[in-house]
């Protein structure tokens, strides 16, 4: 059996998932990264994207936006402002997300980052729901 890390996915309202995983693919701020056991301690910001966790009982995917991931040698905790399991994702939900991001982008002083978040969500919409 491959060695595992403790994976936690937490949203502000509740803990969404907590189980042992062999690898966690994180949509990091600077690009996707995969955390496995023995990873150097890292804190990375999240961009809107798909968080994929390969656990001992199969793989699970979540759509996450905003927050950060805390990686250590033995565990990965993802604190996302919003996290939705891919199975529960609908076109309508994504549209709401995009509308929210557009609204936030309009007032955000850091225009590049905000526009990037919108673009990431658009890309998600194009890929996640095919």
């Amino acid at each position: 059996m491959a060695s595992t890390v403790q994976f936690d996915l937490v949203s502000p309202e509740r803990r969404l998932a907590s189980f042992a995983a062999t690898e966690v693919q994180i949509p990091g701020f600077l690009g996707d990264m995969t955390a496995m056991t023995g990873h150097a301690s890292t804190i990375t910001g999240l961009r809107p994207g798909v968080l994929r966790v390969i656990g001992t009982e199969g793989a699970k995917s979540y759509i996450v936006t905003g927050g950060f991931a805390e990686i250590s040698a033995t565990g990965v905790s993802v604190l996302a402002e919003l996290a939705v399991p891919v199975e529960e994702l609908t076109q309508a939900k994504l549209d709401v997300l995009i509308a929210d991001a557009c609204e936030a982008a309009a007032v955000n002083p850091d225009k590049d980052a905000a526009d990037k978040a919108v673009a990431d969500l658009m890309a998600l919409k194009a890929t996640a729901l095919v």
């Binding site: 502000p12 803990r15 990375t44 604190l79």
Partner: protein, 288 residues
């Protein structure tokens, strides 16, 4: 002396009131459990967030180049007090205790020559503060339509507070809420959220940061403020139900006492009336 019929009506009416307060108490008990569950469920996020923010804030420090939300804008002239109260009454001293704390703080600040502004969340606090501080209101967040408190509600409040800070309308933002301790004890609490304060912790682990410590800190600060407000709102929600529960419990007990008292009076007057009638009959018979 009220008539027997009056007493009977009175007893019936107090019995009805008791039914209502009893029902309200039970509703509050159910809501309290839900509110407590929500507060417990939100705890892991808030705890982790605070831990990481503490590490980040310690690393970046409050020197030059630090984000304004952390270091402040160099002034502390204008204070914004965010007073969180409930939308409904009948919850004992819940709202008054928050408002009282906010008033004391506001008077203190005014005595120091500072300017005080208010942002109210929930109708009840606004009503109580309006007379003395009506001219200092800069906004109000209406929660009457909110059935189930979500993170989005907290973000709304946080956005207003941060907008005031960014536009230079406030230099320091403090929130006022009731911390839930138990059903009978809620502690009025004030907490400064902008500039953000984190207790320094010497035992933080070393991390690599992506993209950089500063960028993550700047990205997370607004979220951390929203999280703090969310935690406060949840605590407040649980406190409100707790306060209402004990207030309604008291009311139910008082109604019970009242019913006993009036029933005694009713029985006495009834007996007195019977005795009077008997005496009348007997003295009538004797007179014959």
């Amino acid at each position: 002396m009220p008539s027997l019929k009056d007493l009977k009506n009175k007893i019936a009416s107090v019995k009805n009131t008791r039914k209502i307060t009893k029902a309200m108490q039970m509703v509050s008990a159910a809501k309290l459990r839900r509110a407590q569950d929500a507060a417990v469920a939100a705890r892991p996020f808030a705890e982790r967030m605070t831990a990481v923010m503490t590490a980040l804030a310690a690393g970046v420090g409050t020197g030059e180049g630090a984000p304004k939300l952390l270091a402040g804008n160099g002034k502390d002239q204008v204070h914004l007090l965010v007073v969180m109260t409930s939308e409904r009454g009948l919850c004992g001293g819940f709202n008054s205790s928050i408002v009282k704390l906010a008033r004391v703080r506001a008077n203190e600040l005014v005595a120091q020559g500072k300017t005080v502004k208010f942002l109210t969340v929930g109708k009840k606090g606004r009503e109580q503060l309006r007379r003395d501080w009506g001219q200092a209101f800069i906004g109000h967040v209406d929660m009457s339509e909110v059935k189930r408190l979500g993170y989005a509600n907290a973000q709304g409040v946080a956005r207003e507070a941060m907008a005031a800070f960014e536009h230079g309308e406030a230099d320091v933002v403090t929130i006022f809420y009731n911390r839930f301790q138990s059903v009978i004890a809620q502690i009025p609490t004030m907490k400064q959220v902008i500039p953000a304060k984190f207790e320094a912790d010497a035992t933080t682990a070393l991390y690599d940061y992506e993209p950089s410590e500063e960028a993550i800190l700047a990205d997370l600060l607004p979220r951390s403020i929203a999280t703090q407000i969310f935690t406060a709102l949840l605590e407040n929600g649980a406190s409100e139900q707790g306060a209402r529960m004990s207030a309604m419990d008291n009311a139910t007990r008082n109604a019970g006492d009242m019913i006993t008292k009036y029933t005694t009076i009713y029985n006495r007057s009834r007996q007195a009336a019977i005795t009077k009638e008997l005496i009348e009959i007997i003295s009538g018979a004797e007179a014959l």
